[in-house]
């Protein structure tokens, strides 16, 4: 008789029927549709993003926690559990969903005009249109306020066009996107723009040679005199708080998601240790192995309890940014530690693509860094604790 790590924590009991049903559906979709191919996608560094987006859209994953415009309107925790199951397959697939739903769609849903919403959200929810999010630049990552991309008005009065110049780096989904939510410097501070990727002057170049998150598209976006109508600016977003609000939204998905990758590693290691015989008996029967398994289970389960707690706080509208930082920092660190420890249990098998463990570990290096690096989240928490900002 064995118990699954998260069952020891009674995580199931913290979910309602609907959340469980959504989790089970995504798990099944992952097992049938994604798992059989994911290692191939990772190795070849290509992913059928357009097809997957349509399938994920039909399921209702894209923008699932938003309401109206064809979005399912689920709870935050349901969204978290969907991310958890997707990332149990691969962080790259969860990234596709995070960027689509929590960055691009959320930005339009929260800050866009009626017209932006009607034009883009239903198609994005269905996965017929893909979105990307351009905030990071080559010289502005953790400090997005240092961005160089500019948007200037050209023409007279309120109807004057916008002209965008500059480039963005690391935009997930960039080369497959139909629409980019791009942040740029204006005379009135930082503004967001809804940019159809077919607009003249817009190009997206895929970033190759990645050793992490290979089953995900990363791109450089180059905007060379991209001319947009006056109403392309997101009316509701003024200043850096706009993109930062979007990031907080997506981070919550990562809080749950990263732990999915950790869980998959732990499940793999448990199964492997039970089968693998060393010195005449199963690896799982040795105290050193059990100590590893027990410690990882404690870390994973505790992190999951924190994730659910943060999700519930968000549902009550009571989640502060520093609290999201707690979860993002903890989940990514815990998951990465688990992935590495599980790798040791698998021995040499652990470095092959036959098992998901090192793939997860590699992916989690990206997850630790994007959406606010671990250090940035330490600084956020530090600021909440001390009242002192140590960013500069």
């Amino acid at each position: 008789m064995t118990t699954a790590p998260l069952d020891l924590f009674g995580v199931d009991g913290l979910l309602d029927d609907e959340e469980r049903a959504i989790r089970d559906t995504v798990r099944r979709f992952g097992d049938h549709r994604l798992r059989p191919s994911v290692s191939e996608w990772f190795e070849s560094g290509t992913v059928p993003a357009r097809d997957l987006a349509k399938e994920l859209g039909a399921l209702g994953v894209l923008g699932m926690h938003l309401s109206g415009y064809g979005c399912a309107g689920t709870s935050v925790v349901a969204y978290g559990m969907a991310c958890h199951e997707l990332e149990a397959v691969d962080s790259g697939l969860r990234s596709l969903v995070s960027v689509q739903g929590s960055l691009a769609m959320f930005a339009i849903h929260r800050f866009g005009s009626q017209q932006h919403k009607q034009q883009w959200l239903p198609a994005m929810a269905a996965g017929e249109a893909i979105g990307c999010f351009g905030l990071t630049e080559s010289d502005a990552g953790s400090d997005p306020g240092a961005m160089r991309m500019t948007a200037r008005r050209d023409g007279s009065g309120d109807g004057a066009d916008w002209v965008l110049d500059g480039s963005k780096l690391w935009s997930t989904n960039g080369t497959v996107a139909d629409v980019a939510v791009v942040w740029a410097r204006t005379d009135d501070g930082i503004r967001g723009f809804v940019v159809p990727t077919g607009t003249a002057g817009f190009t997206a170049n895929e970033i190759g040679h990645k050793l992490s998150l290979r089953a995900s598209v990363s791109a450089e976006l180059v905007l060379d005199g991209v001319r947009l109508p006056a109403d392309a600016a997101l009316p509701g977003a003024h200043g850096l708080s706009g993109p930062l609000t979007c990031l907080n939204e997506a981070r919550l998905g990562i809080v749950f998601g990263a732990l999915g990758a950790g869980r998959d590693c732990l499940d793999t290691a448990l199964a492997y240790a039970a089968e693998r015989e060393v010195f005449g008996k199963p690896l799982s029967g040795y105290q050193l192995t059990q100590a590893k398994l027990a410690d990882m289970t404690v870390a994973l389960g505790s992190a999951m309890l924190l994730a659910v707690q943060l999700g519930r706080l968000k549902e009550q509208g009571a989640l502060a940014p520093a609290q999201v930082s707690l979860g993002k920092l903890n989940s990514t660190r815990v998951a990465l530690d688990i992935a590495r420890e599980c790798r040791t249990i698998l021995g040499a098998s652990g470095i092959t693509s036959e098992y998901p463990v090192l793939r997860h570990a590699n992916n989690l290096e990206s997850v630790l860094t994007y959406e606010g690096t671990a250090e940035v989240h330490q600084l956020m928490i530090g600021q909440a604790l001390t009242g002192l900002s140590a960013f500069r």
Partner: protein, 269 residues
């Protein structure tokens, strides 16, 4: 078209399954799920409903302990419109004749309460009992034509009345069989690709009506169902012993002979 789809909750085959002291399957302490073979039935019912020119309705019907309601819920999440759960302690241990008796009575009550049923869709068997006889027994009890093991179902509603045609593929022949509705159809796992419940479907399912009926509600005498009324009795049941390692024959020029000897010894030839 009013369609009833009969669905069953079965123990999760990936979990460890066990028997009760009376040799019936333990349906309470294990996780259950909608029988995979019934998913094809639900999918087909939904497709027929949605392809019809007029508005239709799919009612998911199940019988079994409290947890069996999950089979109805899953059907509602996939897109069925309403559900009926026949829940009664006396049902435990029912065999196929008793199951078909309860389902037939349930269908009669459904017809009487809310209007005639045009089509009953079943899976070809349950994944736990794998008897595959309930659809036929149900048709017999209701006095309806049965079109079983369908690999394809087409409904023609052009003349104001429904005609249901199915294709059955066997090793030797492909048959096309048809009957005028109402009919009972059972479908195979080749017929379609069941959908995943969409999140909107999952959210909407909560608000769909599910009625819970007892045996007396459907007019079945408890003495006619359950373990004590079963036509057969399971005398003993044991888990299959784990597979042993098998015999490896190393070919030292006599491999063929030794293989043949093995087959003879085991009475395979």
């Amino acid at each position: 078209m009013r369609i009833v789809v009969c669905v069953k909750l079965v123990p999760d085959a990936t979990a460890s399954r066990s028997f009760e002291p009376d040799h019936t399957v333990d349906r309470v302490s294990v996780d259950g799920l909608l029988s995979e073979l019934d998913e094809y039935a639900v999918e087909e019912a939904l497709r027929i409903r949605d392809a019809a020119s007029e508005d239709g309705e799919v009612v998911a019907v199940t019988m079994g302990p409290q947890a069996a309601a999950d089979a109805v819920r899953k059907s509602l999440q996939m897109g069925a419109d309403s559900g009926v759960h026949v829940l009664d302690e006396a049902i435990a241990g029912s065999d196929a004749p008793a199951t078909s008796l309860v389902l037939a009575a349930t269908l009669r009550k459904l017809g009487a309460d809310t209007g005639p049923v045009d089509l009953v869709v079943c899976g070809m068997a349950s994944t736990d009992g794998t008897m595959g006889v309930v659809p036929a027994m149900l048709a017999e009890r209701l006095g309806l034509p049965q079109l079983t093991y369908a690999n394809q179902v087409t409904v023609d509603d052009s003349n104001g009345a429904y005609r249901v045609q199915v294709r059955r593929d066997s090793d030797l022949a492909t048959e096309t069989v048809e009957a005028a509705a109402p009919v009972v159809v059972s479908v195979t796992d080749q017929i379609n690709e069941p959908r995943y419940p969409s999140f909107k479907g999952i959210m909407a399912a909560k608000k769909k009506p599910v009625q819970t009926w007892s045996l007396s509600d459907v007019g079945v005498d408890p003495a006619e169902v359950g373990l004590s009324a079963a036509w057969t009795a399971v005398v003993s049941a044991e888990a299959r012993p784990p597979r042993s390692a098998g015999t490896v024959v190393t070919d030292e020029g006599d491999g063929g002979t030794r293989l043949a000897e093995y087959l003879v010894e085991k009475k395979f030839v």
